[in-house]
């Protein structure tokens, strides 16, 4: 814009400038016009870009950052952590470290900053919190006492290198601890990455379970949804519309209501058990909720529309003429369905399957209400760390792993679909 202004001024005062402008090659002029157009279009989508930045990119970046954030120790004891970063970690730190730690402890004692640092260290080693509180009460050192003496007098654990190593390892503002913990790994005393003790390891199993359950639900949704979508796509509009209503009505009902309804139906004195007993099929009520059966039933029910709708929209676009042509040319009905119809429906199957699988991985409320501790998926633990223990680093790390898994899945899917499109073009 400013350049344009300058140009007009120039042409107004200097006739020779005008000649110069006329000499600008057509290509450059065209490019300039093109650029203006692009800017205008860019301005049109600018609100969308800003919206996406604020609601999508920024929260996800913030979340990913939180999974490696380690601000507590640095915030409470900036000078000491600075000194500890240069410490070799093999023998007790120097007097300067002791002195600065004593000074900073005395200053921050009793403040929320100090409490969060103590809480953070307690996460590394239960008991550290009391150690910090107890030591802080003895700070600053009395006259005639060195900081080192004061620390060891307050608690002899300060004379042990291991105690200082916990501090040293957390003296930097970032840590891989949470990410490691969410795949059952931790730092040992020497700072090497090792496996978590067997009775505390949990997340690898939980992640495996999350993927396994999502796969099972996706397969069931596909088996149940495909015939229905096919029926809807091939029936006359009148019948298809009725079927569509049956799909959409539960889709519009709140998830919580549907989960509660399943709870009523499936509990040991519920309708299903009563009916089965009345018919005489069973004598004792079956255990249908608070185990995997209940979770699978409810999740398949809730996610079915997400499978059916994409498949339906793809199937609607497939002309019946192809299968008819195949059959008229002598191909048996099933083979013509498999060879001619199914490949065309595949993008719908893929989209539906991916949608259901990804939604499944983040499922929380259904397993929480209908499952036992053995059916809880990764998001349960995200909620646990967010709400119960306020360990947001751990919650962010688990979310980051789910997020990465989703991205990988999406990339695999788009690669597969992309290949298919290429293959279709080649044909």
């Amino acid at each position: 814009m400013r350049e344009d202004n300058a140009m007009t001024q120039l042409t107004a005062t200097l006739p020779r400038g005008m000649a110069a402008e006329a000499a600008v090659p057509l290509k450059t002029q065209l490019r300039r016009a093109e650029r203006m157009k692009k800017l205008k279009y860019g301005a049109l989508i600018a609100p969308l870009v800003v919206f996406l930045l604020f609601t999508f990119v920024w929260p996800i970046t913030a979340l990913l950052k939180r999974s490696v954030d380690n601000p507590e120790i640095v915030a409470a004891f900036p000078a000491t952590s600075g000194l500890l970063r240069d410490w070799d970690g093999r023998s007790l730190p120097s007097d300067a470290v002791f002195a600065s730690f004593a000074d900073e402890m005395g200053k921050t004692r009793g403040t929320p900053v100090f409490a969060s640092a103590a809480k953070r260290l307690n996460m590394e080693l239960p008991g550290f919190r009391t150690l910090m509180m107890k030591t802080a009460r003895a700070m600053p050192p009395t006259d005639g006492q060195t900081a080192r003496e004061a620390f060891v007098a307050a608690d002899e654990r300060w004379g042990d290198v291991a105690t200082w190593q916990y501090l040293g390892r957390n003296a930097s503002p970032t840590t891989a601890r949470y990410l490691l913990a969410s795949v059952d790994r931790k730092y040992d005393d020497a700072g090497h990455v090792v496996q978590t003790d067997a009775d505390e390891a949990i997340y690898v199993a939980v992640l495996k379970r999350t993927f396994g359950m999502s796969a099972v639900v996706t397969v069931f949704c596909l088996l149940l949804g495909f015939p229905l979508a096919y029926l809807m796509a091939t029936q006359p509009a009148r019948i298809a519309n009725v079927l569509m209503i049956f799909v959409l009505l539960p889709f519009w009902t709140s998830i919580l209501v549907r989960v509660a309804a399943w709870l009523v139906l499936l509990q040991s004195e519920g309708l299903v058990n009563q009916a089965l007993r009345a018919v005489g099929l069973i004598e004792k009520p079956l255990q249908l909720v608070f185990n995997s059966t209940g979770v699978y039933i409810a999740m398949v029910h809730i996610l079915l529309p997400f499978m059916i709708l994409p498949m339906y929209s793809v199937m609607k676009g497939i002309s019946p003429a192809y299968v008819r042509a195949a059959v008229s040319l002598g191909c048996p009905p099933f083979k013509s369905f498999w060879k001619v119809y199914f490949p065309q429906a595949l993008p719908g199957v893929g989209a539906g399957g991916l949608l259901v699988f990804i939604l499944c991985m983040g499922y929380y409320i259904t397993p929480a209400l209908l499952g036992s501790p053995k059916e809880q998926m990764a998001s349960y633990f995200v909620a646990f760390y967010t709400n119960q223990t306020i360990n947001w680093g751990m919650a962010a790390a688990l979310s980051a792993i789910l997020f990465a898994a989703t991205l990988v899945l999406y990339m695999v899917y788009s690669r597969l679909v992309g290949r298919q499109e290429l293959a279709a073009k080649a044909r």
Partner: protein, 349 residues
Amino acid sequence: MSHTLSKARPIAAALAAMSLLAGTASADVTVISFGGTNQKAQAKAFYEPYAKAAGSKVVPGEYNGEQAKIKAMVEAKNVSWDVVEVESPELARGCEEGLYEKLDYGKIGPKADFVPAAVTECGIGIFVWSTILAYNSDTLKTAPTSWIDFWDLKKFPGKRGMRKGAKFTLEFALVADGVKPEEVYKTLGTKAGVERAFKKLDQIKSSIQWWEAGAQPPQLLAAGDVVMTTAYNGRIATAQKEGKTNLKIVWTNNIYDFDLWGIPVGTTKKDEAYKFIAFASKPENQAVFAGEIPYGPTNLKGTALVDKKIVPELPTAPQNMKGAFASNTQFWVEHGEDLEQRFNAWAAK
């Protein structure tokens, strides 16, 4: 000029309306509790009489003790909860971390009026509650009498309810394994003690039905889903009052604790919050509360005012205190996260 005026008028009107709304809202105090029958009792004993006495409303709300909500509000400096009911370890931790106001007891009442353990830096005890053993006398022919019976699957077959979490679950396991109540926390503080508790839990793991909200145990018992369960004494007592007389309480080795009032840092209605807490801490109001749901008053003068018929149902009754032990707040502040993590890993296997 007239153009801008005509535009400005509705804005001015809207602003006036908003300030009016804000004006009425500022006098109301938002009180968050754990819901259910506990909240109903609070409404009768505290909210309704307070509204009459103070001339402003109590806006009740409920939560399940998630401190994350309070932390988020305090950090965002947008605190809409004025008074919150909190369990002791959470309050102690929140106090250190600057989530709760340090209380000015001058605005509440003399400290000497209360049970000493109910008076803390950031919270004043509302009531004493107990986690007890409850059973359904219709489904159990012989009555269980202790935590040892709770673990006896042969003599008492059937499912057992327990609160999903390490707190209380580990304590009861150790008691059932023969640890003396006064040594439970000492034992649980060692690695071997934790092993011992989980090993004991393994014995009945397949028969445990976990519960999370205090309203669940009486339902599970009444529906026959479990034959016995850990439960809060008040919830069972109110269920009995509602006609479910087949639900019984075993007081042997119960664990008692306080629920306290806390004020989140940054509330704009601190004065109202104090006014409400002072009102709810008065002996006569605490006595009404104990009459509604049998949780023990923290105001020493309140205990004397409680209906004599209800006294035997209170956790603070001498015969119920025998063999009972207090939940160790300091222990749970220290080991809570570690043991809950361990518990999660154990429960998910």
